[in-house]
């Protein structure tokens, strides 16, 4: 019966063959208004940060002391700072770093969190070990840890990759490995419930090995909570980075990031409130748009919500 595979009959050909499921996801994503708006805003911010510097005449570090503390004008749409540097240019290059830190740190944290959560939930034997490790990381005080990390690794990393890349790696790793724990906990809980579901049992009765079983049945079904923490994580990462830079543990002071621009602007909040507010608005917009994208993506990935 199996061997007698007949060539597709004309009747079969009429039926549309199963298409890639990502098309279904895209179809649903398209009709989620918030997600579309979020994507447009996020794309605009990315273009502003990465394409902007190519067309904008000013450099982020160019000091023109004569035109310092200017308000908004055509020459400097966002004004200039106390050293006469163009704020728009600083926003652009600061955005590059902040976005990169946010996204990479989020990806790292999600990867570690989901991985540890799934392993702990699925394999009973290593559950205790992994969860106690999670507790350990949760109990670690963040700032002293970062202090030690930056003290230990700043020099070698700077020597190996250059100051900026070195600091980027350090910050991203620091944020990533100190913020995966909530995700791991949530994912573990979900996996514990999921692995008792009958479709997981069914997959085992088919003979699916654990690796593929996890990737095919477990991970897709814990995607929703991961998605939610991922979108929140980007915001946290951008803000943590600014806190680190403010404490002198992050990027060098003259190196602009959104968080640092906010911190710099706070000193001038009375005279030039826009200086702190503009980067703040950009951070908020990024977070908001990413949240909406995550929301839409979560809905689009769930067939039960799809099509409503």
């Amino acid at each position: 019966m199996t061997d007698a595979a007949t060539p597709p009959s004309p009747e079969t050909a009429r039926i549309r063959p199963p298409r890639n499921q990502w098309w279904d996801v895209w179809d649903q994503f398209k009709i989620h208004r918030g997600a579309l708006a979020g994507s447009v805003v996020f794309l605009a911010i990315v273009i502003f940060c990465f394409v902007g510097p190519l067309v904008w005449p000013y450099d982020a570090t160019y000091i023109d002391i004569r035109s310092r503390n200017q308000g908004m004008s055509w020459a400097h749409p966002f004004g200039t700072d106390q050293l006469g540097r163009d704020i728009m240019a600083r926003m652009m290059s600061g955005g590059q770093v902040s976005l990169a830190v946010g996204i990479v740190a989020m990806a790292l944290a999600m990867l570690i969190g989901t991985g540890i959560g799934v392993l702990a939930g699925y394999f009973r034997r290593i559950d205790g070990l992994l969860m106690r490790m999670t507790d350990l990381f949760l109990a670690l005080p963040l700032l002293p840890l970062l202090l030690v990390m930056s003290m230990l690794f700043r020099q070698p990393l700077s020597a190996a990759f250059g100051v900026e890349t070195g600091m980027f790696l350090l910050i991203v790793t620091a944020i990533g490995i100190t913020s995966w724990m909530p995700t791991a906990r949530v994912v573990r809980g979900d996996v514990l419930a999921l692995k008792e579901r009958e479709y997981v049992l069914a997959a085992r009765s088919i003979g699916t090995p654990p690796r593929r079983l996890i990737l095919r049945h477990v991970v897709p079904n814990v995607l929703s909570p991961v998605m939610v923490s991922a979108t929140l994580m980007i915001a946290t990462a951008i803000i943590t980075e600014s806190a680190l830079s403010f404490l002198g543990l992050g990027f060098p002071p003259d190196f602009p990031t959104w968080g640092r621009l906010v911190n710099d602007g706070i000193d001038y909040l009375q005279q030039y409130p826009s200086r702190a507010m503009l980067p703040g608005v950009f951070i908020s917009l990024t977070v908001l748009s990413v949240n909406y994208i995550g929301d839409g993506l979560r809905d689009a990935l769930d067939p039960r919500i799809r099509g409503r």
Binding site: T6, L201, A202, A203, S205, P220, D302, P303
Partner: protein, 350 residues
Amino acid sequence: MSGPRPLVEVRDLKMHFPILGGILRRQVGAVKAVDGVSFDIQPGETLGVVGESGCGKSTVGRAVLRLYEATAGSVIIDGEDIAAMPAEKLRRKRPTMQMVFQDPQASLNPRMTVAGIIGEPLDEHTDWPRAKKLERIYELMDAVGLNRDFANRYPHAFSGGQRQRIGIARALALNPKFIVCDEPIAALDVSIQAQVVNLLERLQDEFGLTYLFISHDLSMVRHIADRVAVMYLGKIVEMAPVGVLYDAPRHPYTEALLSAVPEPDPSLEARKDRIVLKGDVPSPANPPKGCNFCTRCPRVMEICRDIDPETVQIAPGHVVACHLVTQHQTTGATGGTEAEHPKHQQGEVL
């Protein structure tokens, strides 16, 4: 047993779930979900397993397919012992034995399309090109009576009966010989139950399947099964061909179960003697000392509380584990027939 070699031979299967307690989480006891079950299933035969909730029916089904690691005993399917097989060999053996699950909602991954679900066994065990797999998926959907257009839909878009058909198609994908049906109709409406049972019967004729049909619906089991095993608290108390078991049950528990089957004719129903068992099933973590059924048996004797009855064969293919039967056989010379049993000593006659 005589005749050809059985497809499935289960010997003394035990499935004990440990109870952990204390600070050190040491084992302080065990839930004896299945405690020494033996049966054979001939090729092409359907063995029905009945019993009340929590008696270990489903656990037997799952342990037979080694979805649980059995505590003891052997399960020989098609000449090979499943219970002692290394993992990779077991994986390659999986195509011969499949399972249909109770809850069609929970047994299908909500994030996979019907084609994906039915095709999963093919992905795991064949290296066919995509077109051939798809052709096979359509073939299976035809076999279980699903429209081919449904291939791209997700499980939530189907009714219970259709979902169960998807589950059956998935079980059929690799041409299994043996299918464990774990209460496949319990979650369905009555009208749909008949459809699904008829489908299972048709598929059995078509593909020569062997079923282990687990259910608590006695009339449905009577309809589909060739032989029936009655389970109580992890043990088989009586096993017989379907006609014999329903017409002349020997174990008091079987009698009680059968008396609870609703009778379609109201005048008969009113006259029927119902044996209502008192009390609850004892905990499988702490079963009674003697016969498992002695706490509720309407015809309990002194010996039942002390000694666990042996399983004896009283006729070809009819085995019972009860002191009433055993004593009868030993004192058989005095010519006692079962009609002489004093009926319902503890049980209430309604």
